[in-house]
Amino acid sequence: MSQHSGHVVSVKFYSLIFILLVVLAMLTTGMAFVDLGAFNTVVALVIAFTKATLVALFFMHLRWSPALQRIVGVAALLWLAILIALTLSDYLTRGWIPAPGSWESSLNFTRDFVASLLGWS
């Protein structure tokens, strides 16, 4: 046997994964024509993550790779999640508290806030 490195996968198995990916791709498009309200986006993203996981695990051989490579793969997703979550935590919460445009508006905001705490109208 030649001393090739890395995991050799059968053509049959690759074909199975490919058929599964095509079915999921058609499912994504098909589900877009069904009214699920806000859940259309959720379903589309769940299918996308499933497809990406299939590609990473089997086409990219992560299933048979050393732990170190899997950690890098997961870490990439984690960094992306941090990037999106922390950015959204800024943008989505803007306007919850009026941004001080000047020291006077800060003063007014603080006075109103204290007044509301003390029950003054």
Binding site: S2, Q3, H4, S5, G6, V8, V9, V11, Y14, S15, I17, F18, L21, V22, A25, M26, T28, T29, A32, F33, V34, D35, L36, N40, T41, A44, L45, I47, A48, K51, A52, V55, A56, F58, F59, M60, S65, P66, L68, Q69, V72, G73, A75, A76, L77, W79, L80, L83, I84, T87, L88, Y91, L92
Partner: protein, 216 residues
């Protein structure tokens, strides 16, 4: 003097260690690529949360049929790439070249459909932001923003594909010269990782750009 195409470089203990080192390096590079595209995905998320209706309007302007066909074509190119890697691992030079060529042809079909069926039509209809924009709608400025995301993200993805064509062309030349063998197939495997990553990017781009707000 050692053969420059020897199976084992002298800094490694064995072929397996060499293979793991190359794979780890490639995965680290792909992690930086995730962050490269990540900035676009993050800003897309923010603006979609702000201008939801305009994003739906812009998305409905895109051609779902061509987008879906391209998704399947790109998945097929990933499949032929996986088979190319397998051929290299088994030292089958002829099938390796055939599968690499098939991957390039499928990739070119993807770009051909994108250019002729989508980008060109956008140009005709005046929905190319900044260059040729004549779209009329109460939400036109926000739709223009969506189209900016569409063009930047798909063009960056297409650029990665074109880089992939170059890599595969080099691999075909290497294979034809007999520089790829079962003992020395790392270059093909690393190119495979890259191509599958480009496929994964499209797997996310397709629903995020073409399927906003459903099509019912």
């Amino acid at each position: 003097m050692a053969d420059s195409h020897a199976a084992l470089a002298e800094q490694f203990d064995d072929v397996e260690q060499q293979h793991d080192a190359a794979s780890l390096g490639m995965w680290l590079f792909l992690a930086t690529e995730v962050m490269f595209f990540g900035g676009l995905f993050a800003s897309y998320t923010i603006f979609r949360s702000r201008y939801d209706l305009a994003f739906i309007e812009g998305s409905h302007h895109l051609n779902v049929t061509l987008g879906s066909i391209n998704t399947v074509i790109l998945l097929a190119s990933s499949f032929t790439m996986a088979l190319a890697v397998r051929s290299a691992q088994l030292g089958r030079r002829r099938t390796l070249i055939v599968f690499l060529l098939a991957t390039i042809v499928l990739g070119l079909a993807f770009l051909g459909i994108k250019l002729s069926g989508e980008y060109y039509r956008d140009w005709i209809e005046g929905t190319v932001p900044g260059l040729h924009w004549s779209y009329q709608s109460p939400r036109a400025p926000q739709v223009e923003l969506f189209m900016c995301f569409y063009f930047f993200m798909t063009a960056l993805h297409a650029t990665h594909m074109i880089v992939g064509f170059g890599i595969m062309a080099v691999l075909i030349i290497m294979a034809a010269r007999g520089q790829i063998s079962a003992e020395r197939c790392n270059p093909v495997e690393m190119a495979g990782l890259y191509w599958h990553f480009v496929d994964i990017i499209w797997i996310f781009l397709f629903p995020l750009l073409y399927l906003v707000g459903g099509r019912y």
